[in-house]
């Protein structure tokens, strides 16, 4: 049951064939929570403007807002942790890349 759920989450969030989404997600998931300002060291503002709403929409990350947007925190959710585990599982990734 667990792998099926993980596959559904990863596929619905488009993490397999969208490298940018996957990179941004991995940057948040690796640290569990990260300030938007710190992400701007790795990604351009345009890239973040596109990817953050998509990841939030898939409920992989959530945002804790600060009065200044740069200092808002993105943190990984339960779905995000499941997706992260799936992305680390090479067998599951092989299955996913075959399906897409």
């Amino acid at each position: 049951m667990e792998p099926v759920t993980a596959i559904q989450i990863v596929l619905s969030a488009n993490l397999v064939n969208n490298a940018l989404l996957r990179s941004v997600f991995e940057a948040v998931a690796r640290k569990r929570s990260v300030k938007i300002r710190d992400l701007k060291d790795q990604f351009s503002s345009e890239q973040l403007e596109h990817s953050i709403p998509a990841l939030k929409g898939a409920d992989l990350i959530r945002e804790s807002r600060a009065p200044i947007a740069d200092f808002s925190t993105l943190y990984v959710t339960e779905n995000g942790l499941t997706a992260e585990r799936a992305l680390k599982d090479q067998n599951l990734m092989d299955a996913l890349t075959t399906r897409v």
Binding site: R32, K35, I68, G80
Partner: protein, 216 residues
Amino acid sequence: MIFTAVTGPIPSGGAGGLPRHFEWAIVSAIAFSFVVGVIEIDRQVQKTLRCCFVPQSFLYWFLLALGNVVATLLAAVLVQKLDPSLSEAYWLFAAFFGVFAFQGVLKNTNVTISGKGFLTIDDWLKKALTSATAASIAKDTNLNDIETGQLARELAMVPISKLNAFATMHLSSDNQVSVVAQLDAIAAANNADPLLYKGYAIANAVPRSLVRAFLR
């Protein structure tokens, strides 16, 4: 049935009975489950230990303790086949082997309903752990943001010359431009209060003890 065995009269040992001080084995298994649970959640969360105590963690600990207690009950019967000179420590062996048995065997046991595979106990535990981890991360983020916001507001009240001096000393600059000029430029570009922006930049990057010492 489990609870009857635990709360009922404890046999003093011997063929077919439970080892002496069997209740200690149960307490040890529960205590060990708690320690293992805290370590596992903390390892997954990668944050401070204080954020690990959320309702979801108790559900995970409960499942872990339940599995360990059941395995300890099974192990209690088997340990009585050990050397009788070790009988005083049977309870300890029961707890030890019970917990290891749970990790190795019971976690891979399938729960089936109407002949269909439902979930392994390991799957249940993983789900509970993921839920506890996510709730702990959310709690840590919330607590951290509250503290950072409070510090940033306090820093924004400091005279600008002192704040700039502190920022110059403790924040690194990416290039030749001074860190104060960089922060002012970003604040202006984002239409943000420059003092509050510097306050947030300092509160996020500088150790809290150092910031508190500066604010005193």
